[in-house]
């Protein structure tokens, strides 16, 4: 079997494993609550004032229990939960009852994935290019200055930066935030264009901050690779400076690409907060509304879809990894 095929199968199995583990975590959370989600829904409905008699309430409570699959022994519940979630049926949303969670989330997911991929790739490219340039350039002072800025920003939490940027964006620059719900019923390219316009403000916010992390990681890595044996040797064979730059970048590319693949999960945190602050209609915004409405079911759905979304994005990027690292296409001897 060709090593490339073996690699793709391996990555696909890991993709399925991620979804399974993610799903198990979501199940554990949903069952480890101090109160019972179904009771919450029943009380919520009763609070709307209803003229149902005693037994009818009991009957409704049983159907809702069954809907949530409660009451059965834990492994049956788990199995049911798996089946439901894998088929995309995540039960009703508490706040917008009887709207299905999957429909709500399905609208917001593309926005989030679009922003997540765009933000990660742009910050990754800018950060790494700047990092290599800084490591190899002869202009010491400039590269040191950039490094100090990046270092200074590291300890500051992203949330604090997000608030400061929001304030700068709205109050100082006086720019408006595009609001309004999710566009529906328009041709595909129109939605895409609208998605791109909507994502510009949050995207710039993330990129202005995000590149620094990659910059520092690449600068240290490039400095280390610059002193490797094969770079010393290629200098001795008479290679000009731009070839050395190309070699260092090419060899630093692999570990940094792995870092990108794994960091999508981390990037999601920052993205969700920026989506909420900039009212960008992604999972972040949806999460905020579900917290305000205490809509547990919707939250569980969002958590699950976030895991699926990030896992898919990682899997897609993973497929391009063999192009980056020849050791995958041609494994060593023994």
């Amino acid at each position: 079997m060709h090593p490339l095929v073996r690699y793709i199968i391996q990555r696909f199995l890991r993709f399925l494993l991620t979804i399974w583990i993610g799903l198990t975590i979501v199940f554990i959370i949903s069952r480890a609550m101090p109160f019972n989600a179904a009771d919450l829904l029943v009380n919520r409905i009763l609070s709307y004032g209803t003229r149902l008699s005693g037994e009818e309430i009991e009957a409704m409570r049983r159907t809702i229990y069954d809907l949530f699959g409660l009451g059965a022994p834990i492994h049956i519940q788990y199995f049911k939960f798996l089946v439901h979630y894998l088929t995309g049926d995540m039960g009703p949303s508490l706040a917008y009852f009887p709207e299905r969670v999957s429909n709500i989330v399905a609208l917001a997911l593309p926005y989030t994935i679009f922003l997540l991929l765009m933000a990660s790739l742009i910050t990754w490219v800018i950060g790494n290019l700047a990092g290599v340039l800084a490591a190899l350039s002869r202009r010491e002072k400039l590269s040191r200055a950039i490094e100090y800025i990046a270092l200074g920003a590291q300890p500051i939490p992203f949330a604090v930066y997000a608030l400061a940027y929001l304030m700068l964006y709205v109050l100082v620059l006086g720019l408006s935030l595009p609001t309004g719900g999710i566009v529906q019923g328009k041709p595909f390219w129109y939605i895409l264009l609208d998605m791109f316009n909507r994502s510009l403000p949050p995207l710039t916010a993330i990129v202005i901050w995000g590149w620094m992390g990659n910059f520092l990681a690449m600068k240290n890595l490039a400095m280390k690779i610059k002193n490797e044996d094969f770079i010393e040797f290629v200098k001795l064979t008479g290679a000009p400076q731009n070839v050395i730059f190309k070699y260092v970048l090419r060899n630093a590319f692999v570990p940094q690409y792995t870092y990108l693949l794994l960091s999508l999960g981390m990037m999601f945190t920052g993205n969700a907060l920026i989506e909420y602050l900039f009212s960008y209609p992604g999972l972040g915004m949806l999460f905020y509304t579900s917290i305000v409405n205490a809509d547990i079911n919707l939250m569980l759905g969002i958590a699950y879809m976030a895991i699926v979304g990030v896992a898919t994005a990682t899997f897609v990027l993973d497929l391009t990894y063999p192009l980056v690292d020849p050791r995958i296409r041609y494994p060593g001897q023994r």
Partner: protein
């Protein structure tokens, strides 16, 4: 060193048909034999230096790790003073560790760069001999003097402050601290300067004479092998191709591979230019391990079709001389 399976009790060490296979290729499904039924023995009464001759990838390091109980073999067993070392009771493990010690090829990798070198000596004293720091000091200083150093020279220093030769002496001192009966040396001099090797080998000879220590000395350099060895065993791709006393092997190497090794020694005098037959380099390395017939067939000047198909049996030349080559089959 008799290969016929005799009574294991009157041998210091008896390695009986040790076999170890490793996986390679897809998910390691295809197996190849790193060691193929290797049988060796060291006498109990008087100390002996057995030289194990083999190039990188001949399986010698795997064999040493098996004797040190770091790696477990797939088949065969190892007896030390009659006891199977893989069936030792937990109390006997510490005894075995005291009796059998080892030194390694690269002196700068033997010690942790962040730790002081004497730490290893005090650790050995504490854990294997139960001596605390004060009691161990005299013994350590005495052992270091034996190898030409002293505790004051070594105390509180890290590997940066030593030359390769000095570090190898400290490594030897650490190994002989517990008065072992067997020392395993994995190419101890190949990383040192050619001119410094003889100093270390002289220590080996003294250890055998004065401490009654048997040594398994692994190398690919036949000159040093003859200088220090009593018995020799040639290992090629996990197969024992020739064994015998040092004199026999030096005077009359039988196996073509031993002859090739003998011819490749570069000696510091003018005659070497015309004494050496220049050789063509072979380029088949991994394939040799899985070759059906004699592993050396692809490089052997006398190879016959039979060599490529069948593994030659072990032929007894006289009571202590064995060779595994079709040239000598009856």
């Amino acid at each position: 060193m008799i290969l016929v399976n005799a009574d294991v009790n009157n041998y210091l060490l008896y390695i009986d048909k040790i076999t170890k296979t490793y996986g390679y290729g897809l998910l390691g499904l295809r197996r190849f034999k790193a060691l193929d039924e290797v049988t060796l023995a060291l006498p109990l009464q008087e100390p002996e230096i057995l030289v194990l001759i083999g190039e990188t990838g001949s399986g010698k390091t795997t064999l040493l790790k098996i004797v040190l109980r770091i790696v477990t073999p797939d088949a065969g067993s190892v007896y030390y003073k009659g006891k199977d070392i893989f069936k030792l009771r937990s109390s006997e493990v510490r005894w075995y560790r005291r009796e059998v010690q080892a030194i390694f090829q690269d002196p700068y990798e033997t010690f942790n760069p962040l730790r002081t070198v004497d730490g290893y000596l005090f650790d050995t004293a504490k854990h294997l001999l139960g001596l605390d720091r004060k009691e161990a000091e005299a013994l350590i200083d005495e052992t270091l003097n034996f190898v030409g150093l002293s505790l004051s020279r070594v105390k509180g220093k890290k590997i940066k402050e030593f030359s390769g030769g000095e570090l190898q002496r400290v490594s030897i001192a650490r190994a002989i601290l517990t008065k072992p009966r067997l020392l395993l040396a994995d190419e101890p001099v190949s990383m040192l300067d050619a001119s410094l090797r003889v100093n270390i080998l002289n220590i080996f000879r003294e250890m055998k004479k004065k401490l009654g220590l048997s040594i398994i000395y692994v190398t690919h350099d036949l000159a040093t092998a003859y200088y220090v060895g009593d018995e020799m065993a040639v290992l090629y791709r996990g197969v024992l191709v020739e064994t015998g006393s040092a004199e026999d092997l030096y005077k009359e190497p039988l196996h073509p591979y031993t002859q090739l090794l003998m011819n490749s020694i570069l000696e510091p005098d003018i005659g070497v230019k015309n004494r050496i037959r220049p050789i063509k380099l072979s380029s088949i390395e991994i394939k040799e391990f899985i070759a059906p017939g004699c592993k050396f067939a692809s490089r052997c000047p006398y190879a016959t079709p039979r060599c490529h198909k069948e593994i030659p049996p072990t032929i007894t030349v006289d009571n202590r001389r064995y060779v595994r080559c079709w040239l000598y089959a009856k």
